[in-house]
């Protein structure tokens, strides 16, 4: 029976996960560079000009992926937080805190590019539109999480307190989104309707998806390399970190 049972917890110990993450980071970094390169080329040279917004609409190729990534990373963090609380595995809590800065960066980027797109199209830098407002609230949630983690010294309590905050936050995201939607909406209908046909040109859609996958593998690379830093910091007392440091010293680091 045991052989068929995949040992899910093989990589849940930091010691075994650290080298695995080390091997994965270069793959994801190069994946990101490649995908973003192709995506940028497509978005500037291949995608046709928009009939209404002319060239300005090209900002969509970074605005929408950033917004998607900020929400997606928050959900991934919530997933890791739940696993961390249920299985009490330290590594999943480390993954949660390693994703937070990247998610906050994407939320800020979504706001920045949204404002830069709003200026020519709607005339002002900041518009109290439903999506921009809920993105701003999402950024506050990220900052709240990072502030809570940094103000708790004991890592064990920090992990579990952060996990609870994220889970409470995740329940609130749909409520916040619809209450802001109810409150006011200026944003044009979502151009990408998963159900119906998208009101967008084929090439534009492909470019945006490539850019999204580029950002996705970028987020993976940064999260994995940050989790390695966190592991080193948290596990400094362990023997395998000492050996690692000796090896590092041997290489004249």
């Amino acid at each position: 029976m045991h052989s068929r049972l995949i040992n899910w917890f093989k990589f849940s110990s930091p010691a075994t996960f650290y080298p695995l993450a080390g091997r994965l980071v270069p793959w994801f970094t190069w994946g990101a560079v490649l995908l973003l390169g192709v995506g940028l080329y497509l978005s500037f040279f291949v995608a046709p000009t928009d009939y209404k917004q002319g060239e300005g609409y090209r900002i969509i190729f970074i605005h929408v992926p950033a917004a998607w990534m900020s929400m997606f990373l928050y959900l991934v963090m919530a997933g890791w937080a739940a696993i961390g609380l249920v299985f009490n595995t330290r590594l999943s809590a480390m993954m949660t805190s390693s994703l937070a800065p990247t998610g906050a960066m994407f939320a800020f980027l979504a706001l920045w590019t949204g404002a830069f797109w709003g200026k020519p199209m709607w005339g002002t830098w900041w518009v109290w539109d439903a999506r921009l407002t809920s993105e701003l609230i999402l950024l506050f949630l990220y900052i709240g999480f990072i502030a809570l983690k940094s103000s708790i010294d004991d890592p064990r309590r920090g992990d579990r307190a952060g996990a609870i905050l994220i889970l409470v936050g995740v329940i609130n995201i749909p409520i916040i989104y619809y209450s802001v939607q109810w409150w006011n909406t200026l944003h044009q209908g979502s151009t990408i309707k998963m159900s119906g046909e998208t009101s967008m040109d084929e090439v534009m859609l492909i470019t945006m998806l490539i850019m999204t996958f580029g950002c996705w593998s970028y987020a993976f690379a940064t999260a994995l390399s940050r989790v390695r830093c966190i592991i080193l910091e948290r596990e400094r007392g362990t023997t395998w970190v000492q050996e690692l440091i000796e090896k590092e010293e041997g290489r004249g680091a």
């Binding site: 609230i137 502030a147 309590r157 936050g169 409520i175 916040i176 109810w182 409150w183």
Partner: protein, 222 residues
Amino acid sequence: MIKTLWTVVQRDLTLALRNRSDLISNLFFFIIVVSLFPLGIGPELETLRLIAPGVVWVAALLASMLALERIFASDFDDGSLEQLLLTPQPLPLLVVGKILAHWLVTGVPLVMISPILGIQYDLSSDVLWILVVTLLLGTPALSLIGAIGAALTLGLRGGGVLNALLVMPLTIPVLIFGAGAVEASASGLGGEGHLYMMAAILVVSLVFAPLAAAAALRISVE
């Protein structure tokens, strides 16, 4: 069950009523903030009537957030919180008792004083009535959600500000529907939709907040 709830509420109420100072200061914070806005924005009744719901609601949110820290902090300092955790009674029940006591001490005075403050903004009587109803529905939800933040930031340095930072995003729906209800009814649109949503938020937070706060307490006190 009800007996334990009542004993916790009674204990907290007597404790809170013993030192009325921070109870009064919280109320005056609300009054001052609401009275400051006309000085800042100007005396035209038209604009005041327009901004009244938003101002009163933001002030209520700030006042309740200011008072949140005291739910668990005093018990945490003198160690009675650990005893509370060790009792056989379900912790969420005790947490609900503490939140209810906190709401009675801070929320209800806000609700009672808000009509008088509403007169400053020349609100008609039925708008004042809607304002009181929304505050009656909203302030318990604020206390419930705020209790999660208070439990998470127990005993941390800079806890008060951190608590506001954590809880603020979560209370935004309450603020939107609260101020929206008053505005909608003032403009004749009818605020029932908003009120239903607020009641829904209150019920949801009444169910989930104590569980989350209890879990957070177990973590913070460990």
